[in-house]
């Protein structure tokens, strides 16, 4: 390979623009201890780094703080794993006669508890049922209170959604409050197929769509969703509804059925 060819490869390599085959050729030269390739590369790297340095900027201190916190958290969880592993080992290496006595006592205890449980099982079932009913009622009351609060707040806005290609006749309205969340009511949507549901997305400008909850519709195509308050919801100006796996996804994948803007 002549000098010009090496210089061309080095330039492309420093720019990160070589095609795979050329890159492999140049890396092979570097690995083989070629005399010219590293010198040519250093030269061009300096230029490319200089180009990047033209715009050097000071990052917010929060970026470094977040990285350091992540590193510390990683260290802590590693230590915890090591500790757990070593304690398991230590326990296994010290068998004791007390273990036998204790397991005998525990077995007797378990039998007694089983009898007691059988007697109280019926009461427990009834109590659980009542607790569930109470929780459901409480939840419904809270939901209604939050909707009333939304309606009363002058900062609440109404977002109109219109139907897109898969269901042009669908529409929806949403009460939306920057800090209190919202309430979406949709109609005219086809019932979601088995294993699917509709998912609402909130978008701030050209940012990433943020999931805002999943809902289904009844046989008449009507469905509603209480949208929980979101972080940084103040910047949200666009909403959309897509068809997704029933558990919801973190980024939209399915067809868009409804969209609206503040």
């Amino acid at each position: 390979m002549n000098r010009d060819e090496i210089a061309e490869l080095a330039a492309g390599y420093a720019l990160g623009a070589l095609d795979a085959e050329d890159r492999a050729r140049f890396e092979a030269l570097l690995a083989a201890g070629d005399a010219e390739a590293p010198a040519a590369l250093r030269d061009f790297e300096g230029v490319v780094t200089g180009l990047a340095a033209e715009t050097a900027a000071t990052p917010l201190p929060a970026v470094k703080a977040a990285l350091m916190a992540r590193i510390d958290a990683q260290g802590r969880s590693r230590e915890a794993v090591v500790r757990t592993l070593s304690s398991v080992k230590a326990d296994r290496s010290r068998p004791s006669t007390w273990t036998l006595v204790l397991s005998g006592a525990m077995a007797a205890g378990i039998v007694a508890i089983a009898v007691g449980l059988a007697v109280s099982a019926a009461y427990d079932r009834r109590l659980t049922q009542l607790a569930q009913e109470a929780a459901a009622l409480k939840q419904e009351a809270e939901r209604q209170q939050s909707v009333v609060a939304l309606l009363r707040d002058p900062a609440t806005q109404v977002v109109a959604f219109s139907g897109l290609e898969p269901a042009p006749g669908a529409k929806a309205r949403m009460l939306w409050h920057a800090t209190a969340g919202g309430l979406l009511v949709a109609q005219g949507l086809p019932p979601a197929p088995e294993g699917k549901a509709y998912e609402l997305w909130a978008v701030a400008g050209k940012g990433t769509p943020v999931p805002a909850g999943v809902f289904t519709v009844d046989a008449k195509g009507v469905g509603s969703l209480r949208v929980a308050p979101m972080q940084a919801a103040g910047a949200v100006d666009t909403f959309a509804v897509t068809l997704e796996p029933a558990a919801g996804v973190r980024a939209p994948t399915g067809a868009m059925y409804l969209a609206g803007k503040l």
């Binding site: 490319v48 715009t55 990285l67």
Partner: protein, 193 residues
């Protein structure tokens, strides 16, 4: 500040310490190169908030993969620059894909619903007024090749098909462009051929 070239403080030595899990070395490496990386990421993405996220990803990757740094393949600075460039371009491509598949139908539906027209100022306005660059000193064909390679992440054969030029021409322009940039940066400007 220790004299230049003192081994424990040299970027390559810091990377070796980071590979051993040295938190303090990582802090120093970050202080030395985060500004360089952020400037490049911003220049590619043109979105300050997204850029700081990418910066964090780049340095997290450096923390985890410092052992993979191979001094034969380039300096630590160039390693950071290349990782920043690659991550930023990945993000840019993801944003463009999303704009095509997600934002476009929203805008279309809003236009159809005849409500107040969306006032998306667009990214274009932000792209104006970039800092004056040594790139301005390059003849247009060379500048174009360097920009497409470095700020848009195209490979040389992609650039060739984008510009409708032979691959050999693109390779030569990349090399001539970097040669001339070096002269411009070191103040040894030659007369433009």
């Amino acid at each position: 500040m220790q004299p230049a070239g003192t081994p424990p403080d040299a970027p390559a030595a810091l990377l070796a310490r980071i590979a051993q899990g040295d938190r303090e070395a990582f802090g120093r490496f970050y202080d030395a190169f985060a500004g360089l990386a952020l400037g490049l990421i911003r220049r590619i993405l043109r979105d300050p908030a997204a850029s700081e996220k990418v910066l964090q990803e780049v340095f997290w990757q450096i923390w985890q993969e410092a052992a993979r740094y191979d001094p034969r393949r380039g300096s630590p600075e160039a390693w950071v620059v290349m990782r920043s460039k690659t991550r930023a371009i990945d993000r840019l491509r993801a944003i463009r894909r999303r704009e095509k598949t997600f934002v476009a139908p929203v805008d279309e539906s809003v236009a159809r619903s005849s409500e107040t027209p969306g006032e998306n100022p667009g990214v274009a306005a932000e792209t104006k007024g970039l800092v004056r660059s040594a790139l301005d000193g390059l003849p247009e064909p060379q500048r174009r090749v360097v920009e497409l390679a470095f700020f848009e992440g195209l490979t040389q054969s992609e650039i060739a098909s984008r510009l409708g030029k032979p691959l050999g021409t693109v390779k030569t322009r990349a090399r001539l462009g970097l040669d001339r940039l070096r002269s411009l940066m070191t103040g040894k400007v030659r007369a433009e051929p």
